[in-house]
């Protein structure tokens, strides 16, 4: 008995959509079993995780707010991953972007509130994130160093840098020496979109990024280059696309997107610099990117699903006493199942009875 995988000539379009959906159902079923083992009714858990968060306006806003940075970062990562380049450092680029943009906010504090402050902060965040991502990119291009490891190590460095800045140079002098910057004034904050002071303009930025990403990937020469390099590096080289230039470009894009997400979170949600500005968005975005099959529209859906389950998980902690780790395990399982299900879209899968294939051709 062995598992035979014969590559399909073209990916099955039907299975492209069906497979992730089936994987989702399978993950939910496994989750139901786990929940029952913990002594809670699977039906109640399902409602708490997936239905209740959709049932009031505030909750919907929170889902959008959580999905926005995920979608933004993951769209950028899609460019990298499609080109077979593994930027694992989005969390660090997020932090650096938040730090840089936040620094602009602190530096312009009390200066009169010009309308240019916010755009400057956003630009600073994006540029800083892009620059930070170029470090592993340059090391890869010039020296062939693994971008997986360098980008990941730089995450820890970025977090420590933020910590240092917030406790030292950027600390609020009127803050009893607690580690936080001065609170940003209105000109340095993203405006709210509706009553209730929850949903802010960062959501619009994320949506714009998803739209832009879709367009670039599908309709521009650069997007074609990205898609080709991942699918067939030799063909890309024959077509004259430069490996090095592409590497630098996609890292800059994904770093810029992550950095922008960072300043959006700082200027939108948090409103100041503090030692922790991310609950792991950079890493969760990696799951979102794969769940979305590396395509921006899919990423948007995946971001909403992940945001929904995260918020549902918080509700489950209060209402059903289910631990947050359950949500995390579920998200890991979901990704694994989606990856596994993807095999059916790429290959014809057959279980063939009998021993290993005979070596000698008849």
């Amino acid at each position: 008995m062995r598992l035979d995988l014969v590559p399909r000539i073209r990916r099955s379009a039907v299975l492209d959509i069906l497979a992730p959906a089936l994987a989702f159902v399978a993950a939910v079923m496994v989750g139901g079993v786990a929940v029952a083992a913990l002594g809670v009714s699977p039906g109640a858990a399902f409602v708490t995780y997936f239905v209740t968060p959709l049932s009031d306006v505030w909750s919907l806003q929170e889902i959008a707010l959580k999905a926005a940075p995920l979608a933004l970062i993951a769209t950028g990562l899609a460019f990298c991953y499609r080109a077979d380049l593994w930027n694992i450092g989005a969390e660090g680029q997020f932090v650096v972007g938040g730090l840089a943009g936040g620094w602009v906010g602190v530096a312009t504090h009390g200066s009169g509130g010009s309308v240019w402050i916010l755009p400057a902060m956003l630009a600073a965040g994006a540029l800083a994130g892009a620059a930070y991502a170029l470090i592993p990119a340059v090391l890869k291009v010039r020296l062939g160093v693994s971008e997986i490891l360098t980008s990941l190590m730089l995450v820890y460095v970025a977090q420590l840098l933020l910590d240092y800045m917030v406790r030292g140079p950027l600390r609020d002098p009127a803050g009893y020496n607690f580690p936080q910057s001065v609170g940003f004034e209105a000109a340095a904050r993203l405006p709210y979109l509706m009553e209730g002071e929850t949903l802010h303009a960062g959501v619009l930025i994320a949506l714009a990024a998803v739209g832009l990403g879709t367009f670039v990937l599908a309709r521009t020469l650069f997007g074609f280059e990205v898609r080709l390099v991942g699918a067939s590096p030799r063909a890309a080289r024959f077509a004259g696309f430069s490996d090095a230039r592409l590497t630098l470009a996609v890292f800059a894009i994904s770093g810029g997107a992550a950095g922008l997400a960072g300043i959006v979170e700082v200027a939108g949600r948090i409103g100041q610099l503090q030692p922790e500005i991310s609950p792991g968005y950079g890493f969760t975005a990696i799951i979102v990117a794969f769940l979305g099959r590396l395509s921006p529209p899919g990423i948007l859906v995946a971001a909403l699903v992940i945001a929904l389950t995260t918020i549902g998980g918080e509700g489950a902690q209060i209402d059903l006493k289910l631990p947050l780790d359950l949500t995390r395990a579920f998200q890991g399982l979901l990704l694994g199942l989606v990856l596994g299900a993807d095999v059916f879209a790429r290959y014809h899968v057959r279980l063939v009875p009998g021993g290993p294939a005979s070596r000698t051709a008849p």
């Binding site: 505030w58 929170e62 910590d163 240092y164 406790r167 030292g168 140079p169 600390r171 009893y176 020496n177 607690f178 580690p179 936080q180 609170g183 209730g196 002071e197 949600r269 948090i270 409103g271 100041q272 503090q274 030692p275 922790e276 500005i277 991310s278 609950p279 918020i311 918080e314 509700g315 902690q317 209060i318 947050l324």
Partner: protein, 361 residues
Amino acid sequence: MRGRSMRLGGAVLGAMVAVGPVLTGQALAADKLKVGFVYVGPVADFGYSYQHDLSRKALAAAMPDAVETTFLENVPEADSERSIEKLARSGAGLIFTTSFGFMEPTLKVARKFPKVKFAHATGYKRSDNVATYSARFYEGRYVCGKIAGKLSKSGTVGYIASFPIPEVVSGINAFMLGAQSVNPNIKVKIVWVNTWFDPGKEAEAAKALLAQGADILTQHTDSAAPLQEAEKQGKLAFGQSSDQFRFAPKAQLTSITDDWDGYVIAQAKAVRDGTWKSSDTWGGIKDGMVVLAPFTNMPDDVKAMAEETTKAIVDGKVHPFDGPVTKQDGTVAVKQGETAPDPMILGMNWYVKGIDDKLTP
């Protein structure tokens, strides 16, 4: 005319009599005050969050018919606004947010829910419906310092510190001042682990300090790992946040425990009575908010000294920051005969003379 209004009045009266008990009965049942608690760490850390949860349990036990409690643990500071708002939205009337990093989110949610009362631990910003509370841990540190000064044979104490915030720095200073009052030449080695709870890192720090010659350890982190490491190596140590004696029966001298029970119950009562007002509470040993665990593993005369010092603090005869207090750079922070005012302690970001390390941000 009269007849009709009489009949109407009678009907209304009758309706009220009929509906009345139902209404008030329901109102009584629905009158349980929902109290929410937000913790930054796990309840099972047997340290800071654990002590806060003990106060929640004490509240539930003290007012079972009047109060219903709920809690959220492991809430990251960067993502706390949503959790606090969720508690407010689910009907909580009083919410305790127990970590400094929850300060701005608490204020923001408080603005949105003016009828809900909030109490924020270890912070300094208040509003009409946000109170702050903390404990004068430095009083306990002073006593510990005196004990260490007496018992350290090597003359070096190891201090495992979490983050360089004023609460921790004032603790270090109070400890040193206590130790110096017994042994003016005592030395302290400080290691910053940049976490409140990480047994692995705390154990590593403990090993490093012991290897460098410290024979008594103290910590401002929450796990029992340093105590455990000290016991393993036959040294002595002080516990933190909760009584960690059972983790190191041969090593623990005492532990500075937080006792929030009284405060929490008082706040809940005030909300129920309608007498709640925003306030700042900073209680010490006298108010029962700082409790020193029983003095163990020390000779009787040291124990007597520790008990005496504790009593002196409670009676107001001794204050850890009584002058003269000299800063590391030589300037006088508190003159002889005076005592450091609260704002100085709250914002303390300098070391006292006698500490060799530099306080870096």
